[in-house]
């Protein structure tokens, strides 16, 4: 599947990050938090109202909005 993003993962699914698109402080923050090409991410859950989402990365839990998750392209 092409251009699948973190947003499309179902809770419990794992994937490898291929690219972090987007720009500016948000992208920078995502990189700083360890979401880099080659890292493994796991979708943990969606918030009860559907947004934001919780993921597991580098052994810790991180939440981000779906819009931001959509900038993280998966391999």
């Amino acid at each position: 599947m092409n251009n699948r993003s973190l947003r499309d993962l179902k809770p419990g699914e794992k994937a490898i990050v291929c690219k972090v698109s987007g720009s500016g402080p948000i992208r920078r923050r995502i990189l700083d938090m360890g979401i880099l090409p080659g890292s493994e991410v796991q979708m943990e859950r969606y918030a009860p109202m559907g947004d934001p989402v919780e993921i597991k990365i580098k052994g810790y839990y991180l939440s981000l909005r779906k819009n931001e998750a959509a900038t993280i392209i998966l391999a």
Partner: protein
């Protein structure tokens, strides 16, 4: 004479940095603000041997970019205040991400110690760290600590002194990037060396400083670029930076920013691979189990609402009896003073101005202590981030952060703790916007005004709906204004909601106490003095002058009130408020409401010559109906005007205590004054529209 060492505590949020700071300094700490921003600055000191060690607690950060104000601030402290040693607090349970900050701190070239915190948790999990090897690989001494049990604090101090005296230091080890990137860094470093623009004085040797600058320039760091822009060598430097960036982009198909982040994480992974052994199993952690319930799609929100209800009850219901005792205590004190002092101005100043004013400050203490106990519990256990996670979708629509929910909720009780609660928001713009709109939420002190006016002008049948409509209007206005402010007044990209959900932890009793004490002290010291001064000023406005133009003393309280400065203000603003259906008497009541909203009730009692103010405040039927009769007779007040008055009370100037707290939180008068201005305009506009529409449709006239 003690010798001085300055150390800075750096680390990610949620690493137990504050706990270690508390362990090191005990009560000897000072909380203030960084100049010009609302970020808190904590400092403390401790004596160790012949040294006095000053400890600066830097804002918790994940990185050291110039994008986030907290990170920029942490960097500025390191660069400008030149601490002798950085102590980097690291969550040993979460090494990979924590060490990302560590490698950036290392690049600054300042002697550094690493405190691996929460080592009890990694032991329990079966993770083994080879400390000597890790020290060698990272080039810094490591001290295992357990902040919550105060393990390792003495070792930190001992190692600080050893490092300062240059005993027992591991050999430095630098982080190297990919070959081509490294070539560009070295090239840029050379230009910086030649042009000697590297005047950003780091405590480190100049070659280290230049290397750091080279990396920052390749990362497009705005703060550094702005510093160099004016230098003569800038064109040369920028040409080289662009050339390097382009070269790297072509070579790796990635921007240097990404390459650098990659390089850092690759280095960290290498270190971890060598020095740490993880158990093979991937057990479900306790945190995961708790989150399966607390963040559950079905029960997550109800549990959250129940928690908020508990927080509200804790603050206001549990806080009510001590507030009554404080009020009764100050009332008793006032009466005793009135007994022993002769009647007159001095007695009035002491009883009404000073004792009343101090009482008005102290009375909020139970609320503040209890609220911050609750907030400290939410934050220290880790639930606060979950609350933000659950509420973000709703709050994001208004341009605010999920965490804004807590201050807004507390606003229903009282704006003062609510404004103080807004500091749980990390982003300054979110914090300001939250603070600015919190007073629009209908607080507890406005309720007596509604109750009186509703009882006097409306039937029991509609009373509930009227009250409900006012509360709803307050919420809508707060959300609307938040959106407006976030869009035009405090523009900027919405804060990335990239937030860690830290593992759940048991808070310590000591941390809770320190947290409560800090807030209470800040409130008493900084806001209390202003509230007291303002109370005395208000007393003066309502007490003077005592004589008419002919020197005859006023006997009639209504006449005295009308002639007082406050009464004159009431007359003065009559022209402005008459389009809302208010006359000068309402004007005086509104002026008095700036002291505290509930005062409107007693002032209206006085202007309408209701002698028995107590029974008016208690809402006794006869007094209330005589109040409504007189208000109708003397002001021609209709149910419509009464409704508009409630709306105006809801929206206009926050009470002076709230303004004083806002001043303290924002570090200046700019935002409180802005709030006065915008709430007046808003209150007038909304009231005017409702009044005119009401008149037009003939509702309640």
């Amino acid at each position: 004479m003690k010798k001085h060492i300055t150390i800075a505590l750096a680390g990610n949020p949620n690493t137990g940095k504050t706990t270690i700071f508390n362990n090191l300094t005990g009560a000897r700490q000072h909380v203030g603000n960084y100049p010009g921003v609302t970020v808190e600055r904590k400092e403390g000191s401790v004596n160790y041997g012949p040294y006095q060690i000053k400890i600066i607690d830097l804002p918790g950060t994940y990185s050291l970019t110039a994008f986030s104000p907290d990170e920029l601030l942490a960097r500025q402290v390191i660069i400008e205040e030149k601490p002798d040693i950085i102590v980097n607090i690291i969550d040993a349970y979460n090494l990979e991400r924590n060490l990302y900050l560590t490698v950036q701190l290392k690049e600054l070239g300042i002697p550094m110690l690493l405190a691996f915190n929460m080592t009890d948790m990694i032991a329990a999990r079966g993770i083994h760290i080879d400390y000597p090897l890790m020290e060698k690989l990272l080039g810094s001494k490591i001290i295992p600590t357990v902040g919550l049990k105060n393990v390792g604090s003495q070792e930190i101090l001992k190692s600080v002194v050893e490092l300062y005296e240059k005993i027992n230091i591991p050999s430095e080890r630098d982080l190297f990037y990919e070959v081509e990137l490294e070539k560009e860094i070295v090239g840029l470093q050379r230009i910086l060396q030649e042009t000697a623009v590297g005047e950003v004085e780091l405590a480190a040797a100049q070659d280290k400083a230049n290397r750091w600058l080279a990396v920052k320039l390749l990362e497009n760091d705005n703060d550094i670029i702005n510093k160099f822009k004016t230098s003569d060598a800038w064109p040369d430097i920028t040409r080289q930076v662009e050339k390097s960036q382009k070269k790297l982009q072509d070579l790796y198909r990635e921007e240097p920013e990404m390459l650098i982040a990659h390089g850092r994480y690759a280095f960290i992974r290498g270190v971890l691979k060598e020095a740490v052994s993880y158990p093979g199993d991937d057990r479900v952690t306790l945190t995961e189990k708790i989150d399966n319930i607390l963040l559950n799609r079905i029960v997550g929100l109800p549990i959250f609402l129940a928690m908020m209800w508990l927080l509200f009850q804790l603050t206001f219901t549990l806080g009510a009896p001590p507030m009554e005792w404080i009020e009764a205590g100050f009332g008793w004190l006032g009466e005793r003073m009135a007994d022993i002092m002769p009647d007159g101005l001095l007695q009035s100043l002491i009883v009404d101005g000073i004792i009343g004013g101090v009482g008005g400050v102290v009375v909020f203490l139970p609320n503040i202590l209890l609220l911050f106990l609750g907030i400290a519990l939410l934050e220290d256990t880790g639930y606060m981030s979950r609350a933000a996670f659950l509420m973000d979708k709703v709050m994001h629509r208004t341009g605010l952060h999920g965490k804004s929910f807590v201050p807004m909720l507390i606003g229903f009780g009282c704006s003062i703790p609510a404004i103080m609660a807004s500091r749980t928001l990390e982003n300054e713009r979110d914090r300001l916007a939250t603070m600015l709109v919190t007073p629009l939420i209908s607080c507890g002190a406005k309720l007596p005004v509604y109750v009186l006016l509703i009882a006097a002008f409306f039937s029991d049948k509609v009373a509930g709906n009227i009250l409900f409509s006012i509360y709803i209007l307050g919420i809508l206005m707060a959300l609307l204004l938040a959106k407006v402010f976030r869009k035009w007044l405090l523009p900027g990209e919405t804060e990335p909601f990239v937030m860690e959900l830290p593992p759940y932890r048991f808070p310590t009793f000591k941390a809770l106490l320190i947290h409560m004490w800090e807030r209470a002290w800040l409130y008493l010291q900084k806001a209390g003095t202003i509230i007291l001064a303002a109370s005395i000023l208000m007393w003066g406005l309502f007490t003077f002058p005592q004589h008419d133009a002919n020197g005859v003393e006023f006997n009639d309280p209504v006449q005295q009130l009308e002639q007082s400065y406050a009464g004159r203000v009431g007359h003065l603003i009559e022209g402005v408020i008459s389009p809302l259906g208010f006359d000068w008497k309402v004007g005086v009541a509104l002026v008095s409401g700036v002291a505290a909203k509930e005062v409107i009730v007693s002032t209206m009692g006085t202007v309408y010559s209701i002698m028995d103010i107590d029974s008016l405040e208690e809402g006794e039927i006869q007094t209330v109906s005589s109040f409504s009769e007189r208000a109708r007779e003397q002001s021609g007040m209709t149910p419509l005007v009464a409704y508009v008055l409630m709306i105006f009370t809801l929206l206009y100037i926050p009470c002076m205590a709230a303004l004083a707290v806002m001043r303290r939180e924002t570090n200046g008068w700019k935002w409180p004054l802005f709030t006065v201005g915008y709430t007046l305009v808003l209150a007038w506009t909304v009231s005017f529209s409702i009044y005119q529409v009401g008149l037009l449709l003939g509702i309640g006239v």
